[in-house]
């Protein structure tokens, strides 16, 4: 696993300071969406090999949610963005 994460607020930190809170690429369905769509959103997860986008929570540091793009094979970290910034960009 990627062992060093560059937090946008705290700098380079070991992974022990973080908790992984799951896939960040999921999009919440509309409240009126079908049961299947909600079932997929809540329960069904891929176990990808390669590039993944995840929510990481910097529990022992700034306590912010970060969006980390990393590779599950090579352990390379491509980008770390604050969750609020990522959400704002997604809305555009």
């Amino acid at each position: 696993m990627a062992s060093l994460i560059t937090c946008p607020h705290c700098g380079v930190r070991p992974k022990e300071e973080f908790t992984i809170r799951g896939d960040a690429s999921l999009v919440r369905p509309a409240p009126s969406a079908s049961d299947e769509a909600w079932h997929d959103y809540v329960y069904v997860r891929a176990n990808p090999r390669g590039r993944t986008v995840e929510h990481w929570h910097h529990v022992a540091g700034c306590r912010r949610f970060l969006v980390v793009e990393r590779d599950t094979v090579t352990h390379e970290v491509y980008s770390v963005v604050d969750g609020a910034t990522a959400a704002r960009e997604a809305q555009r």
Partner: protein, 184 residues
Amino acid sequence: MVRDYNNRHALDQKLRGTPKPAHVDHLEVGHWQAIATVLAHAGLDAAVQRALSSTPDLSLRYCGPGEWLVVSQVDTPVGLMRRLDMLCGTQAHVIDQSDGRVLLRLSGPSARQILAKGIGVDLHPAAFALGGSTNVLCGHIAINLSRTGEDIFELIVSRSFAESLFEDLMTMGRPFDLSAAFSE
């Protein structure tokens, strides 16, 4: 039934007896200083920071975006709350942490070597500048670390973790003959 409330320091049990003389590397446990958390309202980070840093005898410790620990060596906890309310009353949430946190001051030429055993942050003078502060993990305990002097580091920890952190620090400092005492 009426009971007397005895205000005891979290490390009273650990530092009982007559204080021993301080060695070169020394851990000083702050005795009743005023600490408060300041959390700026959304979008007012810069304004709150400006208001807080305009006062010279308040020491600001960075926790995260818009969040600081404010330490004062001259105020009482009530006095600090009153001052902070006046400084940033409508711009931030202010919470008294004087009894909720414990301040430990580690000083001496080996301070960096002692801390490096538990902290995964570069402590080199060039990387961790004077006056810098940040939340880090020390062993398994989340603390706020700040550099207040050339070889002086201050650790602020939750009260309930203070004993555990104190024991860890004394173990980490054993090869360097680390001593500990309450501050005057």
